[in-house]
Symmetry: C2
Subunit: 175 residues, 2 copies
């Protein structure tokens, strides 16, 4: 007979599998993939005394030069206080600079400096290489599928924000 212990304290000895109706394989792979994806820039950032948050700010300031603090907060979905420390450090180290908004002088438009641009590119280079290498291991129209998939993983109300992005197409025929 099977054990009759009904208490919740009994150990379960069988592994959960995808048959439970949940795609554990992809869930797990997504975790591993993202962890390793961020590991390269994380190591570089440590040399500057920076963290992953600095990378994200640097990334979006380079992607959308001139965005305001409020816009940046909206993209990152963090609070002003979380951004404050990180942004201040990037300003102090000359990676980012602020210009007063032309129409609304309360606003601060954020721009990368040459140093900030260089760092952003350096941080993204290993990530891009990892992606590129991974795609070449996959057959067929992998890049298109992966891009569609990742976009579909994002909350619908945020996709407009992504599409509004200045850069589109390319990277396929570029190298």
């Amino acid at each position: 007979m099977l054990k009759e212990i009904t208490a919740e304290e009994a150990p379960i000895r069988d592994a959960v599998v995808n048959e439970d109706g949940i795609d554990f394989t992809l869930i797990e792979l997504f975790f591993f993939a993202y962890r390793d994806f961020t590991s390269d820039p994380d190591q570089m950032l440590a040399e500057y005394g920076f963290g992953r948050a600095h990378h994200r700010v640097l990334h979006f300031v380079n992607r959308r030069p001139g965005l305001t603090v409020a816009e940046l907060l909206d993209v990152l979905k963090i609070t002003k206080q979380s951004l404050a420390r990180v942004l201040k450090q990037l300003l102090d180290t000359g990676h980012i600079m602020q210009l007063q908004g032309p129409r609304d002088r309360r606003q601060r438009e954020l721009y990368p400096t040459a140093r900030g641009r260089d760092l952003a590119l350096a941080l993204s280079r290993p990530q891009s290489r990892r992606i590129h290498d991974a795609l070449t291991e996959v057959d067929g129209e992998a890049r298109k599928s992966v891009e569609q998939f990742l976009k579909a993983m994002v909350n619908p109300e945020l996709r407009a924000q992504i599409d509004a992005d200045p850069s589109h197409r390319g990277a396929d025929d570029e190298e």
Copy 2:
């Protein structure tokens, strides 16, 4: 006229684009996708006073019941001290239990309880649904491509570990 300021303090007004040889589009999508991917379980976890680390521990204990503390540390790539608090809470709340290792009594084999199994499934459900929905939005053999891609994104030395987990496990000992 364009500015002639050569110093690194000058603002760069043009956005980085994929033509710089870097696949910013996928880098960015990966960030957004992973953030939203983790947001559903994060909200649930907050109700228990848990964080994302609890989810990861719970996940792997459910995926590989009976794994030892050392094995768990190896999979998660964190330190013993980082695991300690999280694991203790999961033990205290009856989501996980420990059994003394049968061959080596120093070891602690980790097993989910029914409660722990339930929580793991509940946390993964929205993630799995998100993945499933995203895949149906993509045409063709998307799942295969995505799985291959994600696996290829993982550091090579860790891929063996991943492949070892599906269901061909646990048939070597035990009653």
